[in-house]
């Protein structure tokens, strides 16, 4: 089977679903399920006009900030916990607790401490990303092949080179897998954090549209969020392919959370 026919074959189901929806929606006149045209018009009006700078960009900016801070802090903490056994023993139960505590459950606490706004939203995203990355980086550091450690020692590779050229790449399958999991969690947390009374953002607009019976706009929001989740995940698959994939390593899923 050629690549093209393979692609066509895979496109049948989604195309049929979308066509079926449109066929049904045009006839059903159900206000909850507007036809595609109406959703597309609303999508353009809501997200691609002034809404882009008012809602889409702030949402993404919070996501990017929170994600990157959480990721970097998580990797740094994971390196520390992976190398220092006393710290690992000391903080083990606490880290375990925060790993399994769903980040969304912390929203009330963050709202009380920081109020509704960007700081609170970024804070929750940081939290949701940090512990997944922390735990998996620790596991990755612990799993570095003893042979590589020997190479580092035998050739007297200094601490900085050892960390950046040896230990971190060796732990990369764990870190990359965690970063991918963390990204999808961060998207969820971003949206939820906007639904607890934020005046702007993709999540806020979408939930408000539902409450105001603007169903086409609600659908436009759902489509945008779905596209966002999908494309971020696809972008990450590329990152994976050009790092661990290229080195012939396989991303390892360790501990996860939501």
């Amino acid at each position: 089977m050629s690549r093209l026919t393979g692609l066509l074959w895979q496109a049948i189901l989604p195309a049929a679903l979308i066509a079926g929806y449109q066929f049904w929606a045009v006839r059903a006149h159900n206000p909850y399920f507007p036809p595609l045209g109406a959703i597309a018009r609303e999508f353009r009006a809501t997200w691609l006009g002034p809404g882009f700078t008012e809602h889409v960009l702030p949402s993404l900016w919070n996501l990017v900030r929170g994600y990157l801070i959480g990721l970097l802090a998580g990797v740094a903490g994971g390196v520390l916990l992976g190398r220092v056994r006393v710290l690992r023993d000391l903080l083990g139960p606490l880290v375990g607790f925060f790993l399994t505590l769903p980040a969304v459950a912390l929203l009330p606490i963050f709202v009380i401490a920081l109020g509704i706004g960007a700081t609170m939203q970024v804070g929750v995203i940081v939290f949701s990303v940090f512990f997944v990355v922390l735990v998996n980086t620790t596991a990755g550091m612990r799993a570095v092949d003893a042979a590589l450690i020997d190479v580092g020692r035998a050739y007297r590779i200094g601490p900085l080179r050892r960390l950046f050229l040896l230990l971190l790449p060796a732990a990369a399958p764990y870190i990359v897998a965690a970063a991918r999991t963390a990204l999808s969690i961060a998207v969820l947390v971003m949206v939820v954090s906007e639904m607890v009374g934020a005046p702007y953002g993709i999540g806020a607009v979408t939930l408000l549209a539902q409450q105001e019976f603007q169903y086409a706009r609600m659908w436009a929001g759902m489509v945008l969020l779905a596209l966002l989740g999908y494309s971020l995940n696809a972008a990450f698959a590329l990152v994976e392919r050009f790092t661990v994939g290229r080195w012939g390593m396989v991303a390892t899923t360790g501990e996860g959370r939501s």
Partner: protein, 254 residues
């Protein structure tokens, strides 16, 4: 030629209650190639790791060039058994060879030149930009050897370096090492379980007993240089030495 580079004295190593190495003493002279053989489970690799400074002995000492080994010494390079684990898959071939040189303080260009020379010496011209996993097993082990040679060590320590490649590649690698000894003026300590290999490559052979390991005998290999896979191995001297080592190794395992 006859001054001692490495001296191993009364080396003893316990792993918990298990006595792996029991008072091993031997020396390696400058420019010499010494093999350490023994049945599997003998403390060959343990002894080698102590010499390379990767492991602390329980008692006894190793001195290299008169300096007591307390950690990995600066003029020792190691070739590990498993090339697939000892090369860094995220670096290019060149990156793998230059990493220790850069860590040693060589400039980027100096490291690069030394690395390319060493790669050429092991017959790997033109592979500098490739990644280890794009190469065959034998070529990967050549990269590991180039990494060790480029480091310009006084002592090259090799732990079963040819155990993970096929028989043909193994002979090629053995014949690669012999001339490189002269070219890089390096003293070599080789751990192997292959008796033919030990006899073929070495100037002397240290035969260890099963654990707790002691030195059973140190055998001088008086075969003429240069050696060849066909001519040397057909010499009566080769067969005699092979016989002697094999008897020692087997008598103790039965």
């Amino acid at each position: 030629m006859s001054d001692t580079l490495v001296s191993v004295e009364h080396l003893t190593k316990f792993y918990g209650d298990h006595l792996a190495v029991d008072g091993v003493t031997f020396g390696v002279r400058t420019g010499e190639m010494v093999s350490i053989v023994g049945p599997s489970g003998a403390g060959k690799t343990t002894a080698l790791r102590i010499v390379a400074g990767l492991l602390e002995p329980t008692s006894g000492s190793v001195t290299i060039g008169g300096v007591r080994v307390t950690g990995p010494p600066p003029d020792v390079a190691v070739v590990f058994q498993d090339y697939s684990r000892s090369l860094l898959p995220w670096l290019t071939v060149l990156g793998n060879v230059t990493l220790p040189l850069r860590a040693k303080g060589l400039s980027r260009t100096a490291a690069r030149t030394a690395a390319l020379d060493a790669l050429a010496a092991v017959g790997l011209d033109g592979t500098a930009r490739r990644r280890p996993r794009e190469l065959s097993g034998g070529m990967q082990q050549r990269v590991a050897i180039a990494r060790a040679l480029a480091y310009r060590p006084k002592l090259l320590v090799m732990d079963e370096p040819f155990a993970s490649v096929d028989a043909q590649t193994r002979m090629d690698l053995e014949d690669l090492i012999l001339p490189l000894r002269q070219e890089y003026a390096v003293t070599i300590m080789l751990v192997t379980h292959d008796i033919d290999e030990a006899v073929y490559l070495s100037d002397r052979i240290v035969v260890l007993s099963p654990a707790p390991s002691t030195v059973l005998r140190v055998i001088d290999v008086d075969l003429p240089l240069p050696r060849s896979q066909t001519a040397t191995k057909e010499l009566p001297g080769f067969a005699r030495l092979r016989h002697e080592v094999l008897d020692l190794v087997r008598a103790r395992t039965d």
